[in-house]
Point group: C2
Chain length 141, copies 2
DNA sequence: CTGCATGCAAATAGTTTGCATGACG
DNA sequence: CGTCATGCAAACTATTTGCATGCAG
């Protein structure tokens, strides 16, 4: 993964390494603020601008995926740099990556019907996760 | 549709009527700027804040749907105030509402597998529409 | 060394809010 | 006629940009 940066003539700085690591290791889909907070633990001088710039580079290289949920800020996924469904708990904001094979079939059908050349997609489900359902029953507010 | 506003104790102002009309009549999915521009044709004094406030009211009442694509601003749909798929041309920014029945089945399966109580979803496809494909072949940049 | 990356601050875009004035019901 | 909506401007959040300094190659 670092390879790809080297190949494309990008410099490897400690900050970029740190951001890369965070994106590669986090199972969830952090937003810029979360990444920023993490990076600062190791490099307190890092500015948020650098995070944005690095993310922009990684997007261009195709190593991370930008995901925009309805909540103001964008999130990023460094583990699966390709479109995949999300399952978001609207109560605890947890995000899960479910498996759904049937989707490629749907895409094909859609492409055939409309003449569109489909390059990408986004599929997000919103709901309440099992834990939050329990908490709700327990009278939690 | 105006009924619903009356019922819920909201006042009917000319500005609200204008915004409502635009949302109900536009087949596409305008963003706030577009709505604002339209409203100003009839009510030049209207402020963008009023548009936002009215939209917020309509969202609460459930008469319009907020859609956030990846492009900074939110879009709104006053014709189908319930989740439905979108097909977006990344070249000319056109947005189409395709038919896809198979989706409810997918939702059910997902719900069963994860224990989530799914309340909503969002499904957007990105690609190139037939016209833009032609233009691209013709050497258009 | 040379240039690209960093980090700060200022600029920008989209959206929200506070408050005085005005209009719906 | 009281209350809620409007409209202006200021506040806010997420993001981008300009520029001087610093470090990677």
């Amino acid at each position: 993964m670092i390879q790809k940066l080297r190949e494309k003539e990008y410099r490897i700085t400690p900050q970029r390494l740190a951001i890369l690591r965070i994106l590669a290791e986090s199972a969830e889909h952090p937003d810029v603020e979360k990444i920023y907070a993490q990076v600062k633990k190791n490099f307190p001088t890092t500015s948020i601008a650098t995070v944005y710039k690095t993310i922009s580079v990684l997007k261009d290289v195709g190593e991370i995926l930008e995901i925009s949920f309805g909540d103001g800020s964008n999130h990023y996924d460094g583990n699966r740099p390709f479109p995949h469904p999300h399952l978001i708990c609207t109560r605890c904001r947890k995000i899960i990556d479910p498996d759904l094979e049937s989707l490629t079939y749907v895409t094909d059908e859609l492409s055939k019907d409309t003449g569109f050349q489909i390059t990408s997609h986004r599929l997000d489900f919103f709901g309440i996760c099992p834990e939050c359902q329990k908490n709700a029953e327990a009278g939690d507010k």
